[in-house]
Amino acid sequence: MALIDLNKKEVHCKIVYYGPGRCGKTTNLLHIYATMNEQHRGKMLTIDTKGDRTLFFDLLPLNLGKISGFDIRIQLYTVPGQVMYEATRKLVLKGVDGLVFVADPLRVRQARNIESLEGLRQNLLDLHMNLEETPLVLQYNKRDLVNTPIPTLTVAELDQDLNQTLKVPTFEAVATTGIGVFETLKAISKRTVTNVANKHLLSGRKS
């Protein structure tokens, strides 16, 4: 649910990084936080357990400049990936405007990726939203593991598992070093803001 503040001339959008546990959602946000100029990002809020797993969500507010005179403010959220946190994931998805699905390339996590994407589809349905109608990009993370002995999925296999029907843009990434992180962010921001702008700002229609 985007917020268009005509008084302050601001558009607020919520983008959620979704995916199975340990796929690198928080690592994406940490890289963005560490790399972006302080003028363009707010404080990063993290609620994690004593280990490094996200308990509730991470939040990183960004300021992405102006479109049609409106300041574009994006709030990046992550969800906890572990299976048991389904209710929490649904809470964080409330009011989402754009989605990044972060897939884990480890061959042993193949089923987890598919299960998590199905979970996302179902959670959106429960919120009266449709995955096919929500701005979405896929990120195939941890591509640095491809050149190691660890068995990984190929891009073709990940496409086959996750993107056969969705046919959305995909990005290969190594979130720990930042490869592909901003390409992913740029693509989902553009899709999300375009979607909101088409609905409200460019058509001049209010809802």
């Binding site: 709030q75 809470l91 609905k199």
Partner: protein, 131 residues
């Protein structure tokens, strides 16, 4: 959950209601937010000091989690949530399905007064957003 277009008129009317009912009663700050964690209005002397974006996100999530807890014990929802600190307190009140009023106040203001005033302005605020 449809996108929300916030006009100056809506914001001014809501702010005026909050100022008259709560800020004049002595509370430190009031945030009006939606269920997705967007800040719709930020009022009060301490409003500018507070990290409103983080507070709104946490308040929305906290009240969302509380609703799930309510369901686990057979309740539809808990309409309010209150945390008491050493000197500062925070009250979360749900207004309708999508709005949340977060009130921050010291011990100099009674919880009863805050609850009463939040109840009083609930319907008028909903009317502004539904108009």
């Amino acid at each position: 959950m449809a996108d929300l277009v916030l006009t100056a008129e809506i914001q001014n009317k809501a702010t005026e209601l909050i100022e008259n009912a709560l800020i004049k009663a002595g509370v430190s700050a009031v945030l009006l937010i939606d269920g997705a964690g967007n800040v719709l209005a930020n009022c009060g002397a301490r409003g500018a000091e507070i990290d409103a974006i983080s507070l709104a996100a946490l308040a929305a999530a906290s009240l969302g989690a509380t609703a799930q807890i309510a369901k686990l014990i057979g309740e539809e929802d808990f309409s309010l949530l209150f945390h008491k600190g050493k000197t500062g307190n925070i009250h979360f009140g749900r207004l309708g399905n999508d709005l949340i009023l977060v009130t921050i106040f010291t011990d100099e203001v009674s919880l009863g007064l805050v609850r009463c005033r939040v109840t009083e302005i609930t319907q008028p605020i909903l009317d502004i957003f539904e108009a």
